[in-house]
Each structure stands twice: as structure tokens, then as C-alpha cells.
């Protein structure tokens, strides 16, 4: 065959394999530094955990041409304003609960996970919670006893996962905080619960 032609030779491709791999990896490392910096909680894209002390909405941004989360007036979760540390601890407890109860093997979070149940990225803003006034309590009660609160015609229920009240409240904090992350417009066309009054 044509093993003498330079572009079909083994050594040419061996060198290419090494350099292309090394080059791509180095570019990835540089981008990773920048990305990790930008997604550390407390930045513009991923807000500080104390965002749960505020109203979070999801509004259309003309310049970027998609919806973005906006952190608005003070509206503490469960009516109690938390320090940055308290907020971080609460969100972390909620995140641990989502991991220990395996939410991601039924739901998607930020669009990743399983497809058996609704995406939870904007669950905090979902109009089905009724009104802004009852939402927090509704969410806690739902998480603690979802098995007898069916909301769909398919009969597909969420099981009781043994979530305690403190765990449920922490999970709501986690969900509220997650809704403040700038996800470049995912989900698109989402119509949030009415929070004005």
C-alpha cells in the first residue's frame, strides 16, 4: 500500500495524535479555570446562596434574546432572613437531601437526570404551586407527602421518600436557589408564577 506517502504514514499520525490530544487538553484546562471561576457561587452567573433572601424572577432580556433570572426585592424564604453562612448551610442540606433521595433518577435538574418527572430547574417558579403566598408551605407539604397529592391524569405519583420537615425546607431552599442560576435561557418560554403585588 501507500505507506511511503507522508500523510498516510504511521509516524505522521502518531505525532498528530499526540500533539492534537495535548493541544486540546491544554485549551480545555485554560477554559476550565475560567469556567470554574465564573460558576463559583457568588458570581454573576451563579449567585450567592443568600439569593434565597430575595425574590427571584425569570424575565426576558432583549439584549441576550432569552429569559434570565433576576434577583429582586427582599423576600426571605419562610419569612426569615439568613446570613450568607446560614443560607449556604441550608442549601447544602437541601442538596444533600436531593442526592440521598435520588431525585435525579426521576427528575432532571438543569435538564440533566431522568425523564420520568418534571424538570426542577424552575420548580420554585412553577405556576402550579397556586399563589406566591402559599407556595413555600405547599412545597414543603408536597415533598413530605407526595404520594397522595396527584397532579396529573396519568396516575404517575411521586413516592414518599421519607423526607423530614427540616429536609423538606432545606430542599425548597435548594430549589429556590437553583432557580436563580443563569442557564442561558433554558428552559425557554417558561411562564413563571405571578409574584407581583
Amino acid at each position: 500500500m501507500s505507506q511511503d506517502i507522508w500523510w498516510a504514514s504511521e509516524s505522521f499520525w502518531r505525532k498528530n495524535a499526540i500533539w492534537i490530544t495535548a493541544g486540546s487538553f491544554i485549551v480545555l484546562i485554560f477554559l476550565t479555570f475560567d469556567t470554574v471561576d465564573q460558576i463559583t457561587a457568588g458570581g454573576k452567573r451563579v449567585p450567592a446562596y443568600s439569593a434565597i433572601n430575595h425574590r427571584i424572577s425569570y424575565v426576558f432580556d432583549e439584549k441576550r434574546n432569552f429569559q434570565v433570572p433576576v434577583i429582586g426585592v427582599e423576600e426571605p424564604l419562610f419569612g426569615k432572613k439568613l446570613t450568607e453562612q446560614e443560607a449556604a448551610a441550608l442549601v447544602s442540606h437541601g442538596k444533600l437531601t436531593t442526592q440521598a433521595k435520588n431525585c435525579m433518577n426521576c427528575h432532571t435538574l438543569l435538564g440533566n437526570g431522568a425523564y420520568y418527572a418534571p424538570d426542577l430547574t424552575k420548580s420554585w417558579l412553577d405556576p402550579s404551586w397556586g399563589s406566591k403566598e402559599v407556595r413555600e408551605q405547599q412545597m414543603v407539604e408536597f415533598l413530605m407527602n407526595p404520594q397522595d397529592r396527584l397532579h396529573n391524569g396519568l396516575g404517575r405519583r411521586m413516592p414518599n421518600l421519607g423526607i423530614t420537615e427540616p429536609e423538606a425546607r432545606a430542599t425548597v431552599a435548594f430549589l429556590k436557589w437553583m432557580s436563580s442560576i443563569d442557564t442561558n435561557g433554558f428552559p425557554a418560554n417558561f411562564k413563571p408564577i405571578d409574584q407581583e403585588n
Partner: protein, 478 residues
């Protein structure tokens, strides 16, 4: 030497004796994967089925974890299979390798029992360490992660030390470098953060850089060795192709990671980088098809092991369609905004894992059983050849039916749930209740039963193929 056609471990070299242990566990776990996939699929159709006993989340977790583990076992087995042959010397540290196999297997059994019996924990760190980590594909609790890393390090030592002592072929060199990356990347998945964006950022390092970079290169090595064995292709040719594949695969797949960084809080530049590089990812997969088909044609399909060759060719096409075409279809952000996290994703996930990885591991099962039976004839006019052919056909028909059904459900979902309804709770169920969606889930289940039938036939065939054969393996120089 015992009679031809009889299973005898004396027919195997040291590495191969260990390989067949890995293969045996792999097949059992493949069966478990299918069983729990069927249960999860049934719950889409009958939501009360096993509700509160084995919930969807439990079945799904066992389904995908069994997959990851059996494919890893298949890969480890395949590397042990070719190790002594490639390097020219007995495996270095085989005793340790054997010990690692037993520890690994025991750990898997304990993890699965905990998944099934304990299922969930309290919202504390202890649950992540002891019960499950709740992160898709890498749910295994932290203690098991550490065990896995130790076992993989032993495996790596076996491979690297054996090649170093014997000879480093091109395949061996690529393999060892790839295994370093494969093991190193796993570490990115072993940490906790309350920040879900950061969590998913590193989670994708493990998932994407495994399946679209390091695993692809690993099966590239397995394909190279497989073509040498079954067709007698010249080493220089397969190794040149292997380097081409590595260059193209890593060149597109490493930065292609960006196609998972569109919507998780990561910056907007990933739209361009992720979209562009991941769109290139099908190219190496085309190269692999060309390579396999060209070699097979060049050797006029005269192989020493027809079932293995058939599965290798199936791999080339399955990889191209399942990963390349199905991946490309939703990889640009303009489309992914609507398909992200729908059955569309599941369609691609099934087709890609099956097409790229299941196929190659099955090819090695056939290589193994041939030698285990003393190097029996496995070419044309094989006794009972209908079994392997029908197993191959049923597994493909079942998988294609599942893939198409999920794709149609996924189309419907991206239109109705994502585009029109804006992904709300009500929007989700509006889409789930639509007849097109429901029919997709019904056909998925039918495809699943066909797939399961194919698996039963495959297992039966692997136990019996070549048993009554008296002809020896066909020589490559014929």
C-alpha cells in the same frame, strides 16, 4: 490438551483465565441491566407497578449502574484477554489482578444490595458515603468509589508493567496512555459541592470524557486487535488507523465536552466551542466504519471467527449511527435547547451505548469462547449458526425499535413540553399524556422484550457455540 470443543481453562493463558472471569460477571450484569430496564419501562405504562416497593428511581439506578459496571468488566476482561498476546510475556502481578477481581465483584454485589434494600438515606454526608451518591451513572457510594479506584489501579499496573516487561506495540502504547486518562477522570466525580452548576460541570468531565473520549479510544484498541485476530489485517495498517482515530477522536471529543455546558450555568462561549467541536465528533466514527469495512472487504470477509467479526462490523456501524448521527442530531445549541433532557436524549443514550460498547464487548465474548474451547472452527457453515445470527438480529431489532420509539416520543416532547408549554409542571404532563408520546413508550417496551429475547439467545449461544465442532479454527493463510 483436551478434545476440541470442550471448555478447558488449560486452553487459555494467564491473562485470559482472568478475562473469562470478568466476562462471566459481565454477562450476568448485562442480564440484570435488561431486567431493571424492563421494570422501569413498565412503570411508564403502569405507574402503580411496584410503586413504593421498587420505585422508578431505584430501577433506573440499578439499570444504568449495571450497564456501566458490566461494560467496564467487559473492557477489563478484553484487555486481560489480549495482554499476553500483545506484549509477548505473561501478565505481571496476575495474583494481585485476581484479588482485585474478587474485591471488585464483591463490592458490586454489596452496592446493588444496598440500592435495592436500603434505597435512600437521610440528607447527610453519611448517605453519600454509605448508600448512594445520587448522581446519575456514578451513584456508587464513596466507599465503593475508592474500592473501584484501587481495583482499576491494580488493573493499570498489570497492563503497564506487562507491556513494559514485554514489548510495547502501538496498540499497547495507546492503551496504557488511555487507561491513565480513564482512571484519572473518574476522580473528577468523587467530590461533593452544594453548588449544582459546579457539580454538573465536573460530573460531565467523567461522563463525557469517558464515553466520548477515553472509552472510544479503548474500543479503538480493541477493534484494532480484533481485526488482526479475525481477519489477519497487517499490524501497520490497523495501527496507522488507530492513530488517525485517536487524533480525530481526542481532537473533537475533548473540547466537544462543551455541548453539555450550554444550560448548566456555564458561560456562553461554550455555545460556540461545544457546538463546533462536538459537531466534528462523527468524523472519527466515519473513519472507523471505513477502516473496518475496508479491511473486511479486502480480506473478502474470510475470518477466523464469524460471530466476532460480525459484532465488530456491527460496532463500526452502531458507533457511527448511535453516537455519531444520533449525537449530531441534538448537539447544536439551537436544537439542544428544545431536546435537552427529553426522551430524545434517552434515544441517543441507548443507541450509542449499545452501538459503540455493547457490540465490542460481545465480539470479545466470542473471541474468548472460541479459544476456551481449544480454538474451534467458527467460520462459515458453523454448526448451529442460526443462534448467533438470530441473537444478533433480535438484539439489533429490539434496540432499533426502542431507539425509534423514544425518538418519536422525544420529538413530541420537545415540541409540546419544551417549545410550546415552556417546560412547566403542567407542560410536562401535557406532553406525557399525548398519544404520540404514549405510543412511543409502548413500542419502547415491545422493543425491550425483543431485546431481552435476543439476550437469552445470546447467552444460550455463548454456552453452546462450538461445542460439537470437530474442525479446528480456520487458518488465516488459507
Amino acid at each position: 490438551m483436551t478434545a476440541l470443543g470442550k471448555l478447558d481453562r488449560a486452553n487459555l493463558n494467564g491473562g485470559q483465565k482472568l478475562a473469562v472471569k470478568y466476562f462471566t460477571v459481565a454477562i450476568a450484569l448485562f442480564g440484570a441491566q435488561i431486567l431493571f430496564g424492563l421494570l422501569a419501562g413498565l412503570q411508564y405504562l403502569y405507574p402503580d407497578f411496584l410503586f413504593g416497593i421498587l420505585d422508578f428511581s431505584v430501577n433506573r439506578m440499578v439499570h444504568i449502574n449495571a450497564m456501566v459496571v458490566w461494560l467496564l468488566f467487559g473492557f477489563l476482561g478484553s484487555v486481560y484477554w489480549l495482554l499476553e498476546d500483545e506484549s509477548g510475556v505473561p501478565v505481571v502481578g496476575l495474583g494481585l489482578g485476581n484479588l482485585a477481581f474478587w474485591i471488585f465483584t464483591l463490592a458490586v454485589v454489596v452496592v446493588v444490595l444496598v440500592y435495592l434494600l436500603v434505597q435512600t438515606g437521610v440528607g447527610e454526608q453519611s448517605s453519600i458515603w454509605l448508600i448512594n451518591e445520587g448522581r446519575e451513572y456514578i451513584e456508587a457510594p464513596r466507599w465503593a468509589d475508592i474500592g473501584i479506584v484501587v481495583c482499576v489501579l491494580v488493573f493499570f499496573y498489570n497492563a503497564a508493567a506487562t507491556f513494559a516487561k514485554g514489548r510495547y506495540t502501538g496498540i499497547g502504547g495507546v492503551l496504557v496512555l488511555d487507561l491513565i486518562a480513564l482512571a484519572g477522570i473518574y476522580l473528577a466525580g468523587m467530590y461533593y459541592t452544594p453548588n449544582i452548576s459546579m457539580d454538573q460541570h465536573w460530573w460531565w468531565w467523567v461522563i463525557h470524557l469517558w464515553v466520548e473520549a477515553t472509552w472510544e479510544v479503548l474500543v479503538g484498541c480493541l477493534m484494532a486487535y480484533g481485526l488482526i485476530k479475525t481477519l489477519g489485517v497487517r499490524r501497520k495498517i490497523v495501527e496507522t488507523w488507530l492513530y488517525i482515530e485517536v487524533a480525530l477522536m481526542f481532537g473533537s471529543g475533548i473540547l466537544g465536552l462543551g455541548h453539555h455546558y450550554f444550560w448548566i450555568g456555564t458561560p456562553e462561549y461554550w455555545f460556540t466551542i461545544g457546538g463546533f467541536f462536538s459537531a466534528l465528533e462523527p468524523i472519527p466514527l466515519v473513519a472507523m466504519v471505513v477502516h473496518a469495512v475496508f479491511d473486511a472487504g479486502h480480506h473478502k470477509l474470510k475470518s477466523t471467527n464469524n460471530p466476532a467479526l460480525a459484532w465488530i462490523i456491527a460496532q463500526a456501524f452502531g458507533n457511527f449511527f448511535g453516537a455519531g448521527v444520533w449525537g449530531f442530531m441534538h448537539t447544536l445549541p439551537q436544537i439542544n435547547l428544545y431536546t435537552h433532557g427529553t426522551q430524545w436524549t434517552a434515544s441517543h443514550g441507548h443507541f450509542a451505548f449499545f452501538g459503540a460498547y455493547v457490540t465490542m464487548v460481545i465480539a470479545y465474548f466470542y473471541l474468548a469462547i472460541q479459544k476456551w474451547r481449544g480454538g474451534v472452527y467458527m467460520s462459515g457453515n458453523l454448526i448451529g449458526a442460526w443462534k448467533w445470527k438470530w441473537a444478533l438480529a433480535l438484539l439489533h431489532i429490539g434496540m432499533l425499535m426502542m431507539t425509534m420509539a423514544m425518538l418519536i416520543s422525544g420529538y413530541e416532547q420537545s415540541q409540546i413540553e419544551r417549545a410550546i408549554e415552556g417546560s412547566s409542571w403542567v407542560g410536562y404532563f401535557t406532553a406525557q399524556a399525548h398519544p404520540w408520546f404514549v405510543q412511543g413508550m409502548q413500542w419502547r417496551q415491545i422493543g425491550g422484550w425483543i431485546f431481552a429475547a435476543g439476550f437469552v439467545l445470546l447467552a444460550w449461544d455463548l454456552m453452546t457455540i462450538g461445542r460439537k465442532e470437530t474442525r479446528p479454527v480456520r487458518s488465516l493463510t488459507e
